[in-house]
Symmetry: C2
């Protein structure tokens, strides 16, 4: 439309990302209620009216953070899972990407998960993101089974997906509290748990991560 779209739009996109970065930092430091738009504006180095003009109220800003962190996380995971790998290695790459994301963006995880879970208006939003993640996992399980010529009840796939998502969430939260824990080691443990099961673990079987990392 404009003759100089790159010149006019890039700064806005960059500014929005700066504001979201600042908002994630402040929300995760203060919590949703105590966070002030003043502090977010100051952290972003932008005037408060500009924050309101670009991203709306504090609620809208929080939802924008939630969406950005959630989309970033899903892209990271999806990008890591090669479609042609054997199922245990897809599980490994998915979990490695997920726990790596949590360890890298601890602030983002705190906003995405703990704050949203703790605030009734946002908990529904989070439940929807979890349901989408479970659908993606159930779809992957289904394709893996199809490739082996097997059928499993949709409900059983859904249950398995919710179990995997719940276990991974619980461990991500465990990781977020332990800055010294190694996300790759955690992913390896989780593959052992989910892939081998307690039966094989108790009899001393071990699953090893692929050598290339």
């Amino acid at each position: 439309m404009s003759t100089t779209p790159a010149f006019r739009r890039l700064p806005r996109a960059v500014r929005e990302q700066q504001m979201l970065d600042a908002a994630v930092r402040v929300f995760s430091r203060r919590g949703f209620h105590a966070a002030s738009m003043d502090e977010i504006a100051e952290d972003a180095g932008i005037s408060k009216p500009m924050v309101y003009a670009y991203l709306g109220t504090k609620e809208e800003l929080f939802i924008a953070c939630l969406h950005r962190e959630g989309a970033r996380m899903l892209e990271t995971i999806a990008g890591a899972i090669g479609p042609d790998l054997p199922p245990d290695q897809r599980l490994w790459h998915g979990l490695q990407a997920f726990f790596g994301f949590v360890a890298t963006y601890r602030d983002g995880w705190v906003v995405l998960y703990r704050q949203a879970r703790g605030e009734p208006p946002f908990a529904g939003e989070l439940a929807m993101m979890r349901a989408r993640m479970a659908e993606v996992v159930a779809g992957m399980l289904k394709r893996t089974l199809h490739a082996e010529g097997r059928e499993v009840r949709e409900t059983d796939l859904e249950i398995q997906a919710y179990a995997l998502v719940g276990a991974s969430e619980s461990l991500a939260d465990w990781l977020a509290d332990r800055p010294d824990a190694d996300p790759d080691q955690l992913a390896t443990r989780m593959v052992n748990i989910a892939w081998l099961g307690a039966d094989q673990l108790l009899s001393g079987e071990v699953w090893h991560r692929p050598a290339e990392g």
Copy 2:
């Protein structure tokens, strides 16, 4: 101390339980913020000053609900796990008791888990209960391994416990939304997932629940 302790104390204990029953119903119907002490008193068939006198403020009443439902749940699970059973059957009995509890006391689960998780002042309380549950599970895993003459890093036991607790919580929440789902069938699926692992499940292995249970 008193000459008629049974006579004087029983009615109070019974009344408290009636108030807690009413409070769980009202909190789970309305949510913590919208629930009124008037409605709780009316539901319990007791005057509002008496509710305050016995159980304190709305916050204190909610925490009393949380503690009662949590203690009830842990007792139900612990009572179901026979110490001399093989590990897969202990897992089965524990999960059967847990999902059965959620299906029987849906209101209690909603208070215990969803409301508490959604209210920052109570979320810490819930996290502590989850940590205790994970400790219990880790202790059981450790004893099972010791019995087989094996040692595993404490951290690995903790990780496995958090994975199991997270998966079970996620499925309990799934169950709470599906009044038609059979808790025993869900427990059987969860044992298949946790005991056999994806490796054996994908190759068609099935774990069957014990005939009597």
